[in-house]
């Protein structure tokens, strides 16, 4: 057994132990903190598997933003009722899960050795896509539909959250250390976000990672009490949220009417259009995520 395999096995065991501890620990607060650690370890796993784009996104969204949302929800929810599942449910669940584990393990085992023709196809058409990083080419050219609909899902989640006007977050007065740190972190998040966005065309990085980092900077500032409440009824906010989907749809529709088809960029213009979409999507994702986490809903209460 070589050292690399030992590292992989240790990482997977750590992930499984963290997941089990997260889901079954007694105190809910401990569970949430363990879940954030689980997200960070997952980011390390993605980096180990060569998915650097994903590691960046997971560290920013999976561990950071979901952690903040869980803690905010924990603050809103009442004390947890100590109910345990009846033994019959527990036994049935263990039985079903062990059967499923065997079934799926047998199912995925042979997949490790076969291969698919898709990566070769992507690489042979990479030059025509307008960008040189394959993941960005897939996200914004070959499978642009996915990205467009993903922006729509984000918008739908935001609209759904706004419909359920729940009580506002009562932010406690920020202590001086948080304010000092957020003054230092916010400019850094803008620089890192811009760098990730610019880098996305030829190396790991891109709109989602950049948007998530920018949103993190805005959320830290808001939690430190250095930003005014983020309100939906301020029109530039709405313009930023809708801008990503609107620009993406406009470019897609223009391609349909004037060019060769829906989401089919004209040759030569690929790089410009992808960059435009990425910038609009970054702003849109950053504002949507910030509103999801720290958005103020005071103005719609009747």
């Amino acid at each position: 057994m070589n050292a690399e395999l030992l590292f992989d096995a240790a990482l997977i065991l750590l992930l499984l132990a963290l997941a089990a501890a997260t889901l079954h620990t007694r105190k809910l607060y401990t569970a949430i903190v363990l879940f954030i650690v689980f997200g960070l370890m997952l980011a390390l796993t993605w980096a180990r598997l060569g998915a650097v784009d994903l590691a960046l996104a997971e560290a920013a969204i999976g561990a950071g933003l979901i952690g903040v949302m869980l803690l905010a929800a924990f603050g809103r929810s009442g004390p947890e009722a100590a109910t345990r599942a009846p033994p019959a449910v527990l036994a049935a669940s263990v039985l079903l899960c062990s059967l499923l584990l065997v079934l799926f393990a047998q199912g995925v085992w042979p997949l490790a050795n076969n291969s698919a023709p898709v990566p070769e196809l992507v690489n042979s058409h990479l030059a025509a896509s307008g960008v040189s990083h394959p993941v960005t080419a897939v996200l914004l050219n070959f499978r642009a539909w996915d990205t467009l609909l993903e922006l729509v899902v984000l918008l739908l989640a935001l609209l759904g959250v706004r419909q359920l006007h729940s009580p506002n977050m009562n932010l406690p007065a920020a202590w001086p250390l948080l304010q000092a740190w957020s003054r230092l972190l916010a400019p850094l998040s803008i620089v890192i976000g811009g760098y990730l966005l610019w880098r996305g065309s030829h190396a790991p990085g891109g709109a989602f990672q950049a948007g998530a980092v920018l949103a993190a900077g805005a959320i830290v500032l808001r939690l430190a009490g250095l930003l005014p409440p983020l309100r939906w009824n301020w029109w530039p906010m709405r313009a930023c949220v809708l801008g990503g989907v609107a620009l993406f749809m406009t470019i897609a529709a223009a391609g349909y009417w004037l060019g060769s088809g829906w989401l089919d960029y004209p040759p030569g213009l690929g790089k410009t259009l992808i960059t435009l979409i990425e910038i609009a999507a970054t702003v849109s994702i950053a504002v949507s995520l910030s509103l999801l986490v720290v958005g103020d809903t005071r103005e719609i209460t009747p």
Binding site: T45, I61, I66, A73, S77, V108, P134, D146, V161
Partner: protein, 96 residues
Amino acid sequence: MSHISLYLLGGVALWVLGLHALMTQRNALRRIMAVNVMGSGTFMVMVALAARMTPIDPVLQALVVTGLVVAASATAFALRLATTESPVADVDRERE
């Protein structure tokens, strides 16, 4: 046995762990975390499949990047649903 097989099995184990918690836990926040752990297991299988060949499969990785944002959106909505003071929740509480 390569490291890819290890990660494939790890992903399946994570998914099953999440399913078990989803069936046995009662608290809404714990159930949302359980669904997230199940999602992470699925992502791990997909990323391991993407890494099994050289060059690395960009389509699967791009799908997981998309999936991650969709999962975060769904989690945000679910958390707000779980902690909203609504008439329905009050009726449930009175029944208990």
